[in-house]
Symmetry: C2
Subunit: 276 residues, 2 copies
């Protein structure tokens, strides 16, 4: 795919909202409520993409969750095959959406089933036109241009501790991982950003999201866990290119920030701010 | 205790060598061999302090290991009670030492049995006079002025994820943790340095050591694993003082370095260097 869809004159992008998985799914859950508020609250129309999940009722469950929160309309688009990802009725549903929600499951299902289809083009286009896009777990992983497809647990990186694949391309400044503290994933995020240290690594704990602003210049942390930011911009030395499978790596001059509820991060200046 | 014992005119300190545990214990193990070389190789007299261990043969095993490496003399001082830590024959043995080796076990056994005794005063004094002191696992943990006594695994810090106790005070610029990658201890090291962000946190993997130079201005990494350095000197915000037990913490503007064999770190300038 390619960088975020261009914005037309007079339009503003929607928020991009990756969630670390296992978000609180009640009408008092901070992440889903903030998403619904952005989408218009009781006027909001939410379209759910449950493709990542192999469970048949994932979409229906999110319809119930969003209905309980109090949106005007929540519908789920069943897409289990690439042939379903061009259905005209689905594209029409998406055109009515104020917000799009991508569920958890497997991010490789998302990329293999949706990649290059009319539905994924539509999601990118609608986000550029102001529709907010949230995704949890696999739905968060798919959002960046470069997606973490899999990897090994552990907080120290090794040369083969992560595998990457092209993602949906809603952001290209950030590389996103999820279930981050719970599944001990710092090592694979460090490996991923050290392959090409221009991106900022963002590790999302469960029940924790970042709300990336429409101008893509900053994000804010919402939820009960932490967001770990690893920034390799000042990286002075990396042994990644010489390392083999289990070698201990050297990575000198990384920056790290641990952010919780209310913290903000300026993506352009690469600078964190405490809660106001 | 207090900062490192002062050095008299014309003398130079010995190296301080914390090891992350499970070092290779053969005559080709890089860490123990480098220690023996510093101590004089086949002329070296090594005194072993097995107090951390509750196993009766730990001292004898290290006598065998150092003998196999080829030192002139290796003796182990059995000290299981505070009353044994003032024995004149032990102090005389220490006076003959070129190197002192503190085994693994429990660092609280080391601090409670040796703290404030003539043996611990002697170790501090001898190190200031040029005797090299190495310690593995608990023997590494005891070395700094502030010792990590225990804590919870996980790479994210929480307010109660670490407990500190006074250590032997052979270095006061560094806070040391061990079995670091293997036991997932980044969180407790981050918690420890965020209590009072003047120290540099050093997490030692197994079979990996730092050799702190006699002038205490730098260290070099030796061994098969990684050394994780977390430096809070630029910390711009910490929520540690307001956080309760399981709260997600915020720590903004940490520096992190992952160092492997041959990397050096300038403690005064707080700057890492790649292998030469």
């Amino acid at each position: 795919m390619c960088p975020p869809s261009p914005v037309k004159d007079g339009q503003e992008r929607g928020y991009v909202i990756p969630i670390g998985g296992a978000e609180e799914r009640t009408d008092s859950g901070p992440v889903l409520n903030r998403f619904v508020d952005l989408c218009g609250g009781d006027e909001a129309r939410i379209v759910i993409i449950p493709t990542a999940s192999q469970l048949p009722d994932t979409g229906d469950k999110y319809v119930e969750i969003f209905t309980a929160i109090g949106v005007k309309q929540a519908v789920s688009l069943t897409i289990n095959e690439r042939s379903e990802a061009g259905r005209e009725d689905y594209l029409e549903q998406l055109d009515q959406a104020d917000g799009i929600f991508i569920t958890g499951g497997s991010q490789l299902r998302l990329s293999t089933i949706l990649g290059g289809t009319k539905v994924s083009q539509k999601i990118r286009r609608l986000n550029a036109e102001g529709v907010h896009v949230a995704g949890t777990s696999a739905g968060a992983a798919i959002m960046p241009e470069h997606m973490i497809a899999g990897g090994s647990p552990g907080f120290l990186p090794t040369a083969d501790s992560v595998s990457l694949a092209p993602g949906l391309g809603l952001t290209n400044a950030l590389l996103i991982d999820q279930h981050f503290g719970q599944r001990n994933r710092l090592g694979r995020l460090l490996a991923a950003i050290s392959y090409n240290p221009f991106m900022i690594g963002v590790g999302l704990d469960e029940d924790t999201a970042i709300f990336i602003s429409p101008d893509h210049q900053s994000f804010e942390v919402v939820g009960s866990g932490a967001v770990t930011v690893v920034d390799p911009i000042d990286l002075s030395y990396s042994s990644m290119s010489q390392a083999t499978k289990d070698d201990a790596l050297s990575l000198l001059d990384l920056k790290m920030h641990i952010l919780s509820q209310g913290c903000r991060f300026d993506i352009v200046e690469r600078k964190p701010y405490p809660p106001k």
